[in-house]
């Protein structure tokens, strides 16, 4: 993964940028020694930028090597007795023969499907937030 042309050019750029910034620091140091007071500030700034560039490069490589972090999910804790309640309601729902009951169930299914679709939409919406969906 790290040896595609895209990554190789990134590695090359990182090395060149680091060397370039260190060289600029050295150049400012020579100017500072020659009497340019302002150059003392830049003498320290350029190496800091170079180190930041190196850290940045390490982070990109580590992100690439590490698989994507799983989406944090809030743990849903069912209240005590929920399971038993569900069992009881399931027992209540046992279909009784008759046209009335069938019609009722059909209505319930539609409502349930609608509700599930609504939940799925909400879930999708929340999951999409804060995730990467931009330029690569």
């Amino acid at each position: 993964m790290l040896f595609t042309p895209r990554w190789l050019s990134w590695h090359l750029f990182a090395v060149a940028a680091f060397a370039g910034m260190m060289w600029l620091g050295d150049w400012q140091f020579r100017r500072a020694v020659a009497g340019n007071t302002l150059s003392w500030a830049y003498t320290f700034e350029w190496p800091v930028f170079a180190v930041f560039g190196a850290v940045f490069w390490v982070k990109t490589v580590r992100d690439e090597l590490r698989p994507a972090r799983p989406v944090e999910r809030a743990k849903v804790v069912l209240p005590a007795g929920a399971g038993a309640g569900e069992g009881a309601s399931a027992a209540d729902d046992t279909p009784t023969p008759g046209a009335d009951a069938d019609a009722d169930e059909g209505e319930n299914d539609v409502a349930l499907a609608e509700y599930n679709a609504y939940l799925a939409m909400l879930n999708k919406e929340v999951k999409g937030h804060g995730q990467w969906h931009g330029l690569r």
């Binding site: 500030a41 930028f49 930041f52 804060g130 995730q131 990467w132 931009g134 330029l135 690569r136």
Partner: protein
């Protein structure tokens, strides 16, 4: 401090640094450099230029931390734009608005959704 609060603090620090660095850069480019070039007075450019240089170091660290906390990929053009914005006049302000709308607000909204969900499961 939990992760959500830390994220909010880093986002605020990023905003402050974006505005401070951006303002310094505007003063440098539209006051300091014209004075230096046309009036031969380099006092403003020297002071503001040096200040911007050091502020930009702080900006880099804060902005980089922020991009990671709102899940912007490190190896992405977005991250590069956010970091480079501190060296290009006016761009800091534009990028801050864009990143807020596109990444920070969704990330903070996801935090709030998580908190709300946790509250619901506790109250039940």
């Amino acid at each position: 401090m939990d992760a959500d609060r830390l994220r909010a603090v880093v986002v605020r620090a990023y905003r402050v640094m974006a505005y401070v660095t951006g303002t310094m850069l505007i003063i440098l480019c539209f006051v300091g450099i014209p004075l230096q070039v046309f009036a031969g007075n380099d006092a403003v450019a020297k002071i503001v230029g040096t200040a911007h240089g050091f502020l930009y170091i702080v900006y880099l660290v804060v902005a980089f931390t922020m991009t990671r906390m709102v899940r912007i990929r490190t190896a992405s053009l977005t991250t590069v734009i956010v970091l480079a914005a501190g060296t290009i006049p006016v761009l800091t302000f534009v990028v801050e608005r864009w990143v807020t709308r596109r990444y920070i607000n969704p990330a903070l909204a996801a935090d709030q959704a998580g908190t709300a969900r946790a509250a619901v499961s506790h109250s039940q």
